[in-house]
């Protein structure tokens, strides 16, 4: 199923593609790549972990954090993910290369948000 998931290369532009069993139009229309698939799998894992966490410690552990906002675990995940998007964008706009440093900053940001916000 995932054999056609890789992005095409410039050499393949314009060439006719063989159709595999799972390579129906709906799937190819979405233009999946393994990188973006990995990103969405990561999001799905995040949500699953939140679900399991909620099963284990119900209630979402609400508290008032350093921003003065009443947050639950879900809010913290949202703030972390949205903040990470902005950190990555800011890094791309201001620095431009070595994007993995932004990712490391985001991991630290995640920890800070889940501990204090």
């Amino acid at each position: 199923m995932f054999t056609k998931l890789y992005a095409a290369t410039w050499g393949e532009v314009g060439k006719a593609k063989d159709k595999g069993f799972f390579d129906f139009d709906f799937f190819s229309w979405m233009a999946w790549t393994w990188q973006t698939a990995a990103f969405f799998i990561f999001i799905a894992i995040c949500i699953t972990v939140m679900l399991l966490w909620e099963k284990k410690v119900p209630g979402g552990s609400p508290r008032r954090g350093i921003l003065g906002l009443d947050t639950t675990r879900g809010d913290r995940l949202f703030v972390s993910l949205l903040g990470s998007a902005f950190i990555h964008l800011a890094w791309l706009g201001l620095v431009g290369s070595l994007l993995w440093i932004a990712t490391i900053i985001c991991i630290a940001y995640f920890i800070v948000v889940f501990k204090y916000v």
């Binding site: 532009v13 009443d70 791309l92």
Partner: protein, 288 residues
């Protein structure tokens, strides 16, 4: 008390999941996929990494469109919110005037966006439109198809005409929910009209006004149809707000990759603003 556990309710949620998947999740995933690739159509894609994001973030064109968008949104908020409150304050509280005012106020809200655009386009044409012709006849050099200032003036006037009523209706509902006892207390204390407004009416309207500002912010930040029909983003690019510029890039130039990157950045900005307003509303909720 023991609650019986019944998970059947989840079955009723399935249609919503399917609907959201098809109208939100799958298109959004596709936009994410497009934003990292280049295509010339025919379902052939080539990986480009973060190139489009970098290009959009550094592009003058995006900065200009974002600047215009923010300017437009702030101008219409600055006009519509005070004007809406003002009109709501002068509207009658009882009698035959109430339904008349309410119906008159909701009329512009019922007109489809593209009709509003077409109406204002004809209304403002300098040679045959009532507004355009009159302005020129009394000595103003007005032509919204050629002068950027006039195009902005017309777009803002159109939006104010179309959406101020929403603020009016919300504020009116907020004003009507204030108990008469507050006004009586203010009268006994000899409060001025301004003091009554500042210390009774405005705090009581805080909730609906936050909602009004959020709705007007979002609507004007995503505005497309009205300026598209009225000015088409012109003259030049002077009224090309974010969504107009986005459609130009995606469909006009078929630059799907950069357009996808731009729409994601646009989406993140919208999400951030929504989150801020949501928290403001929740804070209001907690206080009252």
């Amino acid at each position: 008390m023991n609650k019986t556990i019944n998970q059947k309710a989840w079955l009723f949620v399935i249609p919503v999941f399917v609907l959201v998947a098809f109208n939100a999740a799958i298109p959004l995933m596709t936009v994410v996929n497009y934003s990292f690739q280049e295509t010339f159509g025919n379902n052939v894609f080539a990986w480009e990494g973060t190139r489009w994001f970098k290009q959009i973030l550094l592009s003058e064109r995006f900065h200009a469109a974002l600047g215009r968008q923010i300017a437009f949104t702030f101008i219409i908020l600055l006009i519509q919110i005070p004007l809406g409150i003002g009109i709501a304050l002068t509207m009658p509280k009882k009698g035959w005037g109430v339904p008349v005012c309410l119906i008159l106020m909701s009329m512009p809200l019922l007109i489809p966006w593209n009709v509003v655009g077409a109406m204002w386009n004809i209304f403002a044409l300098p040679d045959i439109g009532f507004l355009g012709y009159t302005l020129n006849a009394i000595g103003f050099d007005y032509n919204f198809t050629q002068q950027p200032g006039d195009a902005w003036f017309t777009t803002i006037l159109m939006d104010v005409w179309h959406w101020t009523s929403l603020v009016v209706l919300l504020s009116y509902a907020g004003l009507n929910s204030i108990q008469p006892a507050y006004y009586q207390a203010a009268e006994i204390d000899g409060a001025s009209r301004w003091a009554t407004f500042r210390y009774i009416e405005l705090p009581k309207m805080k909730k609906v006004l936050t909602l009004a500002i959020l709705l007007r912010f979002m609507d004007s930040f995503m505005i497309y149809t009205e300026p598209f029909v009225l000015t088409g983003g012109g003259p030049g690019n002077t009224t090309a707000f974010l969504s107009i510029d986005l459609v130009k890039m995606a469909l006009g130039q078929f630059d799907l990759g950069p357009a996808a990157a731009m729409s994601l950045i646009y989406f993140f900005i919208v999400l951030l603003v929504c989150w801020v307003f949501y928290n403001l509303m929740m804070k209001n909720e907690a206080q009252s």
